[in-house]
């Protein structure tokens, strides 16, 4: 891992923007290919669709970028999403549907709070009790799902108030709220990653936590808050998701962690920690969304889709590695 120091020297001269633009090249290649193969791909409407479809993974991936920059991982995002929407649903659904009837805002608040709490537990386990992030969040993955199921008795919470659906289906001057939220989170995330202590310490934590500690910075609280952030963004993703699917299912979000992680890594981050780029992550999410959309447009059978997605993920990351080595 650290042995890489001397061999990477040769890449030092490359400007960061070349690094960052490799995922973009992969995305553009893919889009070019799909435009050639399907006349329907490059329509405004279709691209808009892809953006909306990708928005919840996009939100999760913003938080995941920070976590991965610290050299950690958050496997619990999908379960936390499910738990958060169940909490939100139970808070806002009318009493007849088993909810508390507290209105949309209270529901959203409850959802976000739940996500932040779950993230906080992850953060404590990792930064205080020194559990490896993989294990801590693996545990949370199981626990949050269990709690969601216990709370809802395994049944979706129905009768979500209309107002709450806007996040998934409404728009502001033609721009879907879901996409707006994603873009805002990514921009803000980029700012935090590059221009605040939280962001820089995230990279420092992933690169050499001991050095950070010796510089007099307590790593714990910073690290912990990044998991809170990840939980919070999973919950935000959940609110978008809830708007799109219109009921709160405790079974939601299975496998989202792998999509989000793949997107972050395609975007140029290293799972060893120390680097990550928000622009890259957005491109990574878009690439996965385009791929799924394009394969369906091209009528590729579901089985072949699995195959192709696996190959493209590997190729996209290879392209990035190849360019930087």
């Amino acid at each position: 891992m650290t042995g890489a120091m001397p061999t990477k020297i040769e890449a030092a001269g490359l400007r960061p923007w070349i690094r960052q633009s490799m995922p973009l090249v992969a995305l553009l290649l893919l889009m070019g290919l799909f435009s050639l193969l399907s006349a329907r791909f490059l329509s405004f409407e279709n691209l808009g669709n892809i953006a909306v479809q990708s928005s919840h993974i996009g939100l999760i991936a913003v938080g995941m970028t920070f976590v991965i920059a610290t050299g950690g991982i958050d496997l619990s995002v999908g379960s936390v999403l499910a738990l958060s929407i169940c909490a939100a649903g139970l808070t806002m659904a009318p009493a007849e549907s088993g909810g508390a009837g507290q209105g949309v805002l209270a529901g959203w608040g409850a959802g976000l709070l739940t996500g932040a709490l779950a993230g906080g537990v992850n953060g404590l386990l990792i930064s205080r009790l020194k559990l490896s992030p993989f294990i801590a969040t693996l545990g949370m993955m199981s626990v949050a799902r269990g709690v969601a199921n216990v709370l809802t008795d395994g049944m979706p919470v129905e009768d979500i108030p209309e107002g709450a659906l806007a996040l998934g289906t409404g728009d502001l001057a033609g721009m879907p709220w879901a996409v707006l939220l994603w873009v805002a989170a990514a921009l803000l995330g980029g700012l935090v990653l590059g221009w605040t202590r939280l962001g820089r310490y995230a990279c420092a934590l992933g690169s050499n936590e001991e050095a950070l500690r010796l510089s007099g910075v307590r790593p714990g609280p910073w690290k912990g808050s990044l998991y809170v952030l990840s939980g919070l963004l999973s919950a935000a993703a959940g609110l978008v998701f809830l708007g799109r699917v219109s009921n709160a299912q405790p079974s939601a979000g299975v496998g989202f962690e792998l999509d989000a992680i793949a997107a972050v890594v395609i975007g140029g981050a290293s799972l060893m920690g120390g680097r990550g780029s928000m622009a890259g992550t957005v491109v990574g999410v878009a690439l996965m969304g385009v791929l799924r959309n394009g394969l369906v447009l091209l009528d590729v059978s579901a089985f072949w889709q699995q195959l192709v997605i696996g190959v493209v993920v590997v190729l996209a990351v290879l392209l990035d590695r190849w360019r930087t080595n």
């Binding site: 395994g154 699917v245 939601a252 299975v254």
Partner: protein
């Protein structure tokens, strides 16, 4: 003395409306009849090994009767036999084992239900129409049977696109449906084979302004789907009756425990719910 006996119901999954309904029916029957009913299921509908392990563990735990919905028809044969050999009363529900070494099968014919959906579809759209299918997790046997039934009955009459899975994720179902609508504007009807894909597709039809124009025929009746039917987004729901299955399974087991003979096949029937005006 069957009163107080322990009955285990093993579904194919633990969450979701379908299995929750089975659980509800079974628990209610248990309460009415004075039996202790527990519900268990594997983490995913394709996890056969986990289901076998569950069955083995329940045999160990000394339950008196078991109702199981095999994730795979063949894989459970041996363990079901083992349970019967241990003196446990076993019935299957929702789907059956291939060897049928159990007292009774309580459920419907999935393939027949699928065929029924196809016949309903043919009432909604003219012959030669293009139909898209959205399914749950690939490899789930009951869904496979439903689709097979649908495909057989529609053969030569409807043009079917390849089924697209949503992995049991409603948002993915919305996504898949939207992508299909983009790729195939000629699609006039969606067939969905489960209670998650159906609402997902319905949602996509609503947001794309295609509600009612592109028809939706779905398996299962859940509050979610019922709502779509009421709004005119879905046209026909073909439902097995999971709650009834759970209930009848427990009743049958109670009879068996009491030493009565029970029929080898209990049909819970398929319910077709149409929109009033269709």
């Amino acid at each position: 003395g069957a009163v107080g006996a322990r009955v285990a119901v093993i579904g194919k999954g633990i969450g979701g409306e379908y299995w929750s309904a089975v659980r509800k029916g079974a628990t209610r029957a248990g309460r009415d009849l004075g039996l202790k009913v527990t519900y268990q299921g594997p983490p995913t509908e394709t996890d056969v090994a986990a289901q076998i392990a569950l069955l083995e563990n329940l045999i160990q735990s000394g339950v008196d009767a078991i109702a199981i919905s095999p994730c795979n028809a063949r894989s459970l044969n041996r363990t079901v036999r083992k349970a019967m050999a241990a003196g446990i009363k076993v019935v299957t529900l929702d789907s059956d084992t291939t060897d049928k070494d159990r007292l009774s099968y309580i459920g419907t014919d999935n393939a027949e239900a699928g065929a029924m959906a196809a016949r309903e579809a043919l009432r909604l759209v003219p012959e030669g129409s293009v139909v898209a299918m959205v399914t749950g997790v690939l490899g789930a046997q009951n869904l496979q049977e439903r689709r097979t039934g649908f495909t057989r009955a529609a053969k030569g009459k409807l043009r079917l696109l390849a089924a697209q899975p949503d992995n049991g994720d409603k948002a993915r179902a919305v996504e898949v449906a939207e992508n299909i609508l983009t790729a195939h504007p000629e699609v006039t009807l969606f067939f969905t084979d489960n209670a998650i894909s159906g609402p997902g597709v319905g949602q996509a039809l609503k947001t794309r302004g295609k509600a009612g124009k592109v028809k939706l025929v779905s398996m299962d009746v859940t509050p979610d789907l019922q709502g779509l039917l009421d709004q005119g987004v879905a046209s026909v729901l073909v439902a097995q009756q999971p709650e009834k299955m759970g209930e009848l399974a427990v009743r049958a087991l109670k009879d068996a425990l009491a030493g009565k003979r029970i029929p080898g096949r209990i049909d819970t029937g398929v319910r077709v719910v149409r929109r009033k005006d269709s």
